[in-house]
Every structure is written in structure tokens, then in C-alpha cells.
């Protein structure tokens, strides 16, 4: 039985909750009350058709990136975000679906009204809007099921970052790697989403006995990952193994930074955290240095 999309304000009266099938968005905007209201209406109008648009093209979106291109606006931004990875890595447009959806809803809002700040949080993959002079502070957790912040990031308007995404085997989507969480800051949410998936895949220990993997299709028959082995459990790893896996992931993240595909990455594995950021640009990195525990941020924005 088809469940209708859900559109409602959360209890705080400030945030909008949009839910349809597997899409679950928390939306917030700051600005003139009339503008916020207009933006929320625009968000809802845009939102109600998104799932249908995507489902119409699911076979292409679930296939390894090739010659056939999808047509819908959201699907095209998914496709564009993953294309840079396809020559040397397995990736499907689904790797960017959450970020692309967040971005599309945010775009509808900013087109409808002038806003001071806004975010669309799609289960941890977040698109943000910042007017000049404004900023967001983002708290980061390493394990989605246990909320404790390992760090926070301030994103000022002058930064190029407008997308944040997190991926890891503990999350809702499958991962080929063993990272508890990889958080990426990038220009767009779709790009951050694709990159988080790819970096999380690279944090890995091939053949390690403490890692249990299962072909994706054994769990979800229609998974875009087919029979690729996805991580289902990771036992306790030695400090040496943790360092080795994080080294591999960091090296890959550094290459993405060097290629300007992402701005920064934070990689978490069993309590250890590494951060990587674009280095050849003047100005302070928006990510805290490795293994420091910064102050708890204001809770303007949480994500997993």
C-alpha cells in the first residue's frame, strides 16, 4: 500500500520534516518569517515529486556509470557527481542520491525566497545555503547509533563548501570498506555524498579475518552493488591495522583534495580519527586537527 509523503513541522515549530519512502529530510531556514514560510512551501512542492522522478529511472541509476545518461534533473546531478570516479572505481549514480535530493530541495527554497541560512539534511547528507557573513557549525559523530561528537566544523559563507556527507558501514547504505564514518566537505552535497562513499570504501583491510562481508544482493536483491561483498561486521582491530586502513583511506582522500573534488575529509575507525584537507590554499582549514577533541558546537546542525 503506497504511503503518502509526509510534510510536517517538527515540534520546535522551526524545522520542516519531509518524508517519502526511503527519503527523510529535515529542513531548516533562517531569515525573514515570510521568506522562510515561502521557502518551506517551495521545499514541499519540490519534494513531493522527487521520489517518482527517481524511481522512473532506477535501472540507469543503479547501473555502473556508462554511456546511458539519465534525464531527470536530480538524476543528472547524481550522474555528474559520480562520473569522475568511474574510470578506475566501481560506482553507480545511487552513491550520490541522498546529497542530490538535498541539493534539489535546497535549490527550490533559495529560488523561492532570499534566506540568511538554510540546510536540507537527508539522513546525514546535507546541502547548505549561507548568505554573506553567515556560517554554520556542524557537529560530527563517528558512530551513527551512538551520538557523541568527536569534532565540529565551522563553515563560513566565504568557504566554497556547500555540501556535507557521511558514509560508513554502520550507516543505512552499504559500504565496501570498514570505516565507522567518513565525513566529507565539498562544493555540493551530491559531490560530498559520492566522495564519502568512495573514501569509506578505501578504508579497508583486504582479507582481514575480523571483517565479515556478504554479497550485497544476498541482503538486498535489487542493490546497485550486485554481488560485491559489503561489510556487515568489523571485529576489534589492532592499532596497527587501524592505522593501516586509515592510511589507505587518507591517501585516497588526499588525492581527491589534490584534484579539487573535495575540500576536506574526516575518517573514523574504531575511535581513531584522521582529517585531510586542501592544503595549498591560504587560510585556516575548517576541520580541526587530527585527534583533537574540540568544544561541543552549538547544535545548529547535527548529522550522523
Amino acid at each position: 500500500m503506497r504511503e503518502p509523503a509526509l510534510i510536517q513541522m517538527l515540534a520546535d515549530g522551526r524545522r520542516l520534516h519531509l518524508h517519502d519512502g526511503p527519503i527523510d529530510l529535515i529542513v531548516h531556514a533562517d531569515g525573514d518569517t515570510a521568506f522562510v514560510d515561502r521557502a518551506y512551501r517551495a521545499a514541499a512542492v519540490r519534494f513531493v515529486t522527487i521520489l517518482h522522478e527517481l524511481c522512473g529511472e532506477l535501472p540507469v541509476l543503479r547501473a555502473r556509470v556508462g554511456h546511458e545518461k539519465p534525464h531527470g534533473a536530480v538524476a543528472r546531478s547524481m550522474f555528474a557527481a559520480v562520473t569522475p570516479y568511474c574510470p578506475d572505481r566501481f560506482i553507480t549514480p545511487m552513491a550520490a542520491v541522498a546529497g542530490a535530493v538535498a541539493e534539489a530541495v535546497l535549490a527550490a527554497m533559495t529560488q523561492a525566497a532570499e534566506l540568511e541560512r538554510a540546510y536540507v539534511n537527508n539522513g546525514g547528507d546535507i546541502a547548505i545555503h549561507l548568505a554573506p557573513g553567515r556560517s554554520y557549525t556542524v557537529g560530527m559523530v563517528e558512530r551513527p547509533e551512538a551520538v557523541s561528537l568527536f569534532g565540529s566544523v565551522e563553515i563560513p559563507a566565504e568557504s566554497a563548501v556547500r555540501g556535507i556527507a557521511t558514509s560508513g558501514w554502520r550507516g543505512r547504505s552499504f559500504s565496501l570498506g570498514i570505516a565507522d564514518a567518513v565525513t566529507i566537505l565539498a562544493k555540493t552535497a551530491a559531490e560530498a555524498d559520492a566522495a564519502a562513499t568512495m573514501v569509506a570504501n578505501e578504508v579497508d583491510l583486504a582479507g582481514h579475518p575480523a571483517i565479515r562481508r556478504v554479497p550485497a544482493c544476498e541482503i538486498a536483491p535489487d542493490s546497485d552493488l550486485g554481488d560485491l561483498p559489503v561489510t556487515r561486521a568489523v571485529g576489534l582491530l589492532s592499532p596497527h591495522d587501524i592505522a593501516r586502513a586509515l592510511d589507505d583511506g587518507s591517501r585516497y582522500a588526499e588525492s581527491l583534495c589534490a584534484g579539487r573534488r573535495i575540500h576536506s575529509a574526516a575518517l573514523c575507525l574504531q575511535g581513531d580519527v584522521r582529517t585531510v584537507t586542501i592544503t595549498d590554499r591560504p587560510g585556516r582549514s575548517p576541520l580541526p586537527p587530527s585527534n583533537t577533541l574540540p568544544q561541543f558546537p552549538s547544535r545548529s546542525l547535527w548529522h550522523a
Binding site: 504511503e3 515540534a11 519512502g21 526511503p22 527523510d24 521520489l51 517518482h52 561486521a233 571485529g235
Partner: protein
């Protein structure tokens, strides 16, 4: 699409993604699942309806919707439990539910979350005197070590299962089997366990245990000596001597203080075993699953020949176990050898009385776990303040609405009787660790002062409005109502 999927796969039609979902798995949304071939919504969270008395019927949510006035009335008291509340993914609020309600004019906040406990286990109290295995020996499930035999209690054998070392410190298989064993026991399912150099048992919460294929019906009435004291008067005059066989202390009527007081005559009986005080013997046999928790199958094996200068032909002897389950009646022949006879009617009553005084034997399962740093961080920005608040009894801790005993000392280490929780309250994550519901209830003002996530507090009525995610249960009549804290340590 012409793809063929195995028959245990169903297609979800809750949204246009139309996921194929295999048996035992969820779709892309994590909200719908294939449960035994049926599409079910899997994220209900349990609401406890306060039962005025036993037998209060379950109130379907829809029927009351029209009359709902947003207040907690005397007859519509609802407590949101953590079962199915979900953990904090995708994370946009610190704990899945922080619910405010008003009880007797006091604004209360309940922080509801499903805790992921890697430090957790169960304590099993198995009401039996049968020897299950030497203390400290390993307890195994599916061949994997999952716990050990702990110190015995009065009338009961104790097992300690789980804990962080079996869950994550051993092999992958040990961790998986331990997690599965704990999960099954906590959810009321039957589990088969084997003790090294001991018994094979089958146990389930609040069910009689089965030891080596034999179902245990009753606890012993007391030790053998206690049984002599309790029944001496009923035996006096109807039989010349009574031996109550027990693994701990075997009692003999004619030598026991209770028999002496009643003027029971010496019989010349002689017991193999170590005499403690008159009429009380230790170690009459090896522990086992025979008479009174010993290895005895023939009770005469614990008797030495009667002393010929004291005993007499036709002397009447009753031998009985501490549960009344085993008994035999003998009379001495002319050469003073015991010959088994039918139990005289006059003694049948006393044996029945022993049985009657034995309580039903059960296995009880206490879930024990520590609420660690990250779980507490979902409740407050300063986790130790939550711990202090629990210790000072300002915060009440419940698990699925059942009272939890909080062990004194550091941290929040709690114990809860799984039989008092709604069914299927537990889950697991493949870490492996158990997922258990946990609720913290405290005054709203106290919550603010301990650094609570006040921005995330939602009124009860709003949580109740999300009715498609809810199951309602009538609270168990024995449980105190979670929103009415009684003073006392740990809120139990």
C-alpha cells in the same frame, strides 16, 4: 522485469522504490521489513498504557483520538518506552525521543533511547538443586563459550552469561553466538546450554528449566536438616526414622535436635558422609541430578548397615528428597536389612506436604548492562551529570517501562528482570552488542540543569500523534508506573 527472485523475497509497495526484500531484512528505508514472508512496518515504538488493575484491556489508539485533550488524565496515562524508538540514525536529534508530560502538576521529561550495550550480559537464576556443573566452569551454547557457572544461591544454581569478553574479546563465532544467546534469553526464547563437566540444560525466562532432559518442577523445601525441622512433628509416631536426602545437608530424624525434642528413639542408623552436627551430614554422595541434587539413584547406597545392638526388626524408615519428588519406604527384616514396601497412607500426606511447600522452579533472567558515555551524551551534554542525577534518585531509570535496579558505585550499571518488559524488547547490532530500551525520567527543571537537550523536548501528545509507528501495551500490574517515581536509590 523478468528477474527471478527466490521465494523468500517479497516486493514492498509502500513507496515507488518497490524494494525486493529478503526474509529477515528491511528495505532501503529501514522501515519496512520481510518478517516470515509478510511485509511489516518494523519501527513501532511501544507505548505503555498504565493499567489501573490487572486485566485492563488494551486501548487502540484510534478510538481515543477524538477525545484526546493533550493532557495526561487520570485514566489515560501513557508512557513512551524506548522499544523501537530507534537509535539516533539518521541523526537529527540527540536521543530519538525526549518527551515531556505533566504528572500531578510536575513537568516531567523522559529521554527515550535504545542503548547499544557492548558491556552487557544476563544473570540466570535456575531454581534447582541438581548439580549443573562445578563453579567457574564454562557454559557453552552451540559449542561456543558464552559464560560460566557462578556461586550457587539457596535452592538455585546461578549462571553468568555474556559480558564484553565473550561478546568482543574472543573469536568472531564466540561473539556472534554469545550475542544470539543473550538476545534469545532476553526476548523470552528457549536456549540450550551445556556446562563443561556438567549438565545440558534448556532454559527460558520465567519457565521451568530442563536439566539433562528432565523438566524441573519444584524448588527444594529447604536443606535436608531444615526439612527435618519442618516436618518432625508430622512424622513423629508414624515412622521410626526419616532420612531427608540433600546434596547440601542430609538430615536424619532420630539424631536431629528436632527428633530428640520429640523423644524419637535412637534407631542405630548409620550414614555414609561427613557428620556436621548430630543428624546433619555433608557430602553423602557426589552432586548430580538424582535424589535431592545428589548423584544418588538408589537411596540405600548412602546407608551403612544398621547397628545391631540398637536397631530392631520391622523398624520403619522413610527416605525422601528435599523436593518430595523422590521417596522410598523400608522396613527392616529379621537380619536388620531394609526391605522396600509401599508408602503407608499415614506418610503419604507428609511427602505430599514437602512437595506442596516447594515453590515452582523457574529460570529467571536478569539483564545487566552499563549505560556508557555515548548513550548518556544523547541525554545530556554533560554525561556525568546524568550519572549523578540517577544516583541521587532524581532520575528514574526504566527499561521498556520495567523498573531497573541501578548498582551503587560508579557509572550506571543496571539490572532488570526481562520478564517484566514487553515482549521482543531487545535487538542487536552486529558489533556484536545488544540493543535494549532505556528511559530516563526526571523533572523538566532537573533536566535543564543537567545540560539536557531542551530544544529537542517534544510534548507527549505530539509523539502520540505518530500513531503508525506505535504499539500500545498495558503496563504489567506488578511494575510501578514509570512516571511516578518512588523515593529510593536508583529509582527501582
Amino acid at each position: 522485469m523478468a528477474e527471478v527472485f527466490p521465494s523468500d523475497t517479497i516486493r514492498c509497495d509502500a513507496c515507488p522504490v518497490l524494494c525486493y526484500i529478503k526474509r529477515g531484512h528491511t528495505g532501503a528505508c529501514d522501515r519496512y521489513a520481510n518478517l516470515e514472508g509478510q511485509l511489516v512496518r518494523v519501527d513501532p515504538h511501544v507505548l505503555l498504557d498504565r493499567a489501573k488493575s490487572q486485566g485492563t484491556p488494551l486501548v487502540p489508539f484510534l478510538e481515543r483520538e477524538g477525545a484526546w485533550d493533550g493532557q495526561l488524565g487520570k485514566d489515560r496515562e501513557t508512557f513512551v518506552t524506548a522499544i523501537g524508538a530507534g537509535t539516533t540514525y539518521p541523526d537529527y536529534k540527540p536521543a530519538p525521543f525526549i518527551v515531556s508530560s505533566e504528572v500531578d502538576g510536575v513537568d516531567l521529561v523522559t529521554v527515550v533511547t535504545e542503548g547499544i550495550f557492548s558491556y552487557c550480559g544476563v544473570k540466570l537464576k535456575i531454581d534447582t538443586d541438581r548439580h549443573l556443573g562445578p563453579e567457574r566452569n564454562l557454559v557453552r551454547a552451540q559449542g561456543e563459550p558464552v559464560g560460566h557457572v557462578s556461586t550457587a544461591e539457596y535452592g538455585s544454581q546461578m549462571l553468568s552469561l555474556g559480558g564484553v569478553h565473550h561478546l568482543t574479546g574472543g573469536t568472531k563465532s564466540e561473539g556472534r553466538v554469545t550475542c544470539e544467546t543473550l538476545l534469545d534469553l532476553c526476548n523470552g526464547k528457549e536456549v540450550a546450554l551445556v556446562i563443561d563437566n556438567g549438565a545440558s540444560i534448556t532454559v527460558a525466562a520465567n519457565q521451568p528449566p530442563t536439566v539433562n532432559g528432565q523438566r524441573e518442577e519444584r524448588m527444594r523445601v529447604g536443606c535436608g536438616s531444615a526439612a527435618i525441622g519442618m516436618f518432625a512433628k508430622q512424622w513423629s509416631g508414624k515412622v521410626d526414622d526419616v532420612v531427608v536426602v540433600d546434596d547440601h545437608i542430609t538430615g536424619v530424624l532420630s539424631e536431629h535436635q528436632a527428633g530428640k525434642m520429640l523423644g524419637v528413639r535412637e534407631t542405630g542408623i548409620a550414614i555414609r558422609g561427613r557428620r556436621s552436627t548430630p543428624g546433619r551430614y555433608f557430602q553423602v554422595a557426589q552432586p548430580g541430578t538424582g535424589w535431592g541434587g545428589t548423584s544418588i539413584t538408589d537411596p540405600l547406597s548412602i546407608l551403612k548397615p544398621f547397628k545391631p545392638n540398637i536397631a530392631w526388626p520391622h523398624l520403619r524408615l522413610l527416605m525422601v528428597s528435599t523436593t518430595g519428588e523422590h521417596y522410598a519406604y523400608y522396613e527392616l527384616d529379621d537380619s536388620l536389612r531394609p526391605v522396600e514396601k509401599g508408602l503407608p497412607a499415614a506418610l503419604q500426606e507428609s511427602v505430599a506436604r514437602i512437595r506442596e511447600n516447594c515453590e515452582p522452579a523457574l529460570t529467571t533472567v536478569l539483564f545487566m548492562a552499563g549505560a556508557g558515555g555515548s548513550l548518556r551524551a544523547g541525554v545530556t551534554e554533560n554525561p556525568v551529570k546524568l550519572t549523578h542525577s540517577v544516583k541521587q534518585s532524581l532520575t528514574r531509570v526504566t527499561c521498556g517501562g520495567a523498573p531497573a535496579y541501578v548498582w551503587p558505585g560508579g557509572g550506571i550499571t543496571l539490572m532488570v528482570d526481562v520478564a517484566r518488559m514487553p515482549e521482543n524488547a531487545f535487538g542487536y547490532v552486529p558489533t556484536p552488542a545488544l540493543v535494549a530500551p532505556i528511559e530516563f525520567t526526571l523533572k523538566k527543571s532537573d533536566y535543564a540543569s543537567l545540560g539536557g537537550h531542551m530544544n529537542f523536548v517534544r510534548p507527549l501528545e505530539e509523539v502520540l500523534r505518530e500513531k503508525d509507528r506505535q504499539r500500545q501495551f498495558t503496563s504489567l500490574p506488578d511494575n510501578p508506573w514509570p512516571l511516578k517515581p518512588t523515593p529510593g536509590r536508583g529509582g527501582a
